[in-house]
Amino acid sequence: MATLKVNQGKVTPKTANELIDICPFGAIDEENGKLIINSNCKMCKICVKKGPKGVIELVEDKKIKKVNKREWKGITVYVDHVEGEIHPVTYELIGKAKELAKKVDYPVYCLFIGNDIKEKAKNLLEYGVDEVFVYDYKELNYFRIEPYTLAFEDFINKLKPSIILVGATTTGRSLAPRVAARFRTGLTADCTILDIQKNTDLIQIRPAYGGNIMAKIKTTNSRPQLATVRYKVMDAASKCENISGRVTSLEIDSSKFNSNIEVIKITKKEKEENISEADIVVAVGKAIKNEDDLKMAEELANILGGQLACTRPIIENGLIEPKRQIGLSGRTVKPKLIITLGISGSVQFIAGMNSSEYIFAINKDPEAAIFNIAHYSIVGDIFEIVPDLIEEIKKQKDIELKECIGIS
């Protein structure tokens, strides 16, 4: 592995300042005319590549033991579940795993840890997984960190997978780091793009600094390579017609499943009714005049699994409760998707929703202020467009349902 060496002889006030400025992480300090690289350094090597020539050099260490990458094979997807109910991120990871595996001729495995899950494991084969490995023990009924890590460790030792993909769910974010630390290997969180090199190194791209920069990360000299991916980032695998994979139960000495954690009670979460937390928001404005108009907007919100919100005038007519108001005098929302229906876009309203990820605005007036900030400006009458939109969404959902149950 390489280290950075500062050639102090070449340090001048000018080069020093240049380097301090160039470092994105504030990792270069000047002390008594000497340049020092501090612990903020992320080894991005910008100082070597873009800094004044020869001041900071990359020194390769030849003594590092190289991992034998040929000993590690296959891509494993960790099956995320709560009491056997599989989280859909799992199918998305299988989809990505299959795509990567093709490039380097790897098998795709699933690792399923739980209790009474063998039947459910078979269903995973329909997505084209080569082998599902199952640890099925009553001690694994609930997610508890020590027994789950133990089973995971046992699996890695037996199968030696080169790559392990884990959903960035609450469980995955707790389990993956534990496993990575146990094997002293690399783990990259919340990857948005994954690819693979011929030498089986996983190319991991993820956002940092709140999404303001992207980093390309590799685990070049250790195996397995672990990465987590959030739900709805990758495309789900489709079902295959010919099932060729199999389910294999792995044995472990269950007396080793000790835990310092005891799960006492599990309660279903109450449905989120806070517009600030919603991922999808349908917002209505003055164009909505009565209960019937409102029903149309509600139906759109429901069918998208989102929440209904509104502008201030609607609150004033008493059509909608005040906690659903967006804007300076209401709440600020930052959903992944907001669809505004007949909202002209006052400054006060826009201030409360401007940082939404995708803004679809439908309004009759082509000059409406909302179109200045919308990503999709749709000029038209909401009473004509929305009913059609609802119908189309229903159609799309139908198609998806049919694909899911294998009718096409």
Partner: protein, 262 residues
């Protein structure tokens, strides 16, 4: 109860831009602050201390100016502060950071409870807490929403799961990562600022740590390598659609499907 809180100094803003010509990061000033998520961790520790008594130690890793976040913790009520700082630690990824922290925490034993924020605002990984717990060989629970009971040898906590909330009992010693909003963090106190102005901050260098194998720290101890950083692709063009309403309805539905909202 002896509580260790892990904190981190992060840039004052996550607004970073990249020079499109040189590819360099342009930071607006070098302002830095305590990772906002750590405020919840520290507040949790302070509440536990108020109920059960004890000692709160904060620990961080970073350059010397990371002392500022320890001072901030003192102003909120932390009792002792420790800074892990050495050029050997440079280039640490999650694994090396967690290992260094665990070595530092081993130096400030005994502890009953370690509390970490859910994640940082610069790295955003949420991984350092669980990895540190692994190196210390203690159990952990992530995403703790609420601490229901504190007993001498165990805690009962509420944890956030995708569709459920779990109540679990965990033996001490253990590590918790707490969600934001677990408690409202208090503001730094001016009186404490004055009274802790000269309060000691102990600095641990590499040579102070028990494990002296340099290959486990900094860049050498980091299996992941950042190959490059670049600006995110801005692919959100602004589009204006007009025309027949039936077509528009269909067009919107298709786009929503493309964007995976359906």
């Amino acid at each position: 109860m002896n509580i260790v809180v892990c904190i981190k100094q992060v840039p004052g803003t996550s607004e970073v831009n990249i020079d499109p010509e040189t590819g360099n990061l342009l930071r607006s000033g070098i302002d830095s602050k305590m990772n906002p998520y750590d405020l919840f961790a520290l507040e949790t520790a302070l509440r536990i201390k108020e109920r059960k008594g004890g000692l709160i130690k904060v620990i961080t890793m970073g350059p010397l100016h990371a002392r500022d976040v320890i001072k901030e913790a003192y102003m909120m009520g932390a009792d002792e502060g420790y800074l892990l700082s050495d050029k050997v630690f440079a280039g640490s990824d999650v694994l090396a950071t967690s290992y260094t922290l665990s070595q530092g925490i081993n130096k400030i034993k005994p502890f009953d409870l370690i509390i970490c924020g859910k994640q940082t605002t610069d790295g955003d990984t949420a991984q350092v807490g669980p990895e540190t717990a692994e190196f210390l060989n203690i159990p952990h629970i992530a995403n703790v929403l609420n601490i229901l009971k504190i007993r001498d040898n165990e805690l009962i906590v509420e944890m956030d799961m995708p569709n459920t909330v779990e109540i679990a009992k965990i033996n001490i010693p253990c590590l918790l990562t707490v969600d934001k909003d677990i408690y409202d963090p208090r503001l730094p106190s001016f009186l404490k600022k004055i009274s802790t102005r000269d309060k000691k901050i102990e600095i641990f260098n590499f040579k102070d740590l028990r494990d002296k194998n340099k290959k486990k720290y900094g860049l050498d101890g980091s299996p992941t390598q950042v190959e490059k950083v670049f600006p995110p692709k801005v692919d959100k063009n602004k589009e204006k659609w007009t025309g027949d309403s039936r077509d528009l309805g269909e067009k919107i539905a298709k786009e929503l499907k493309n964007l995976k909202f359906i």
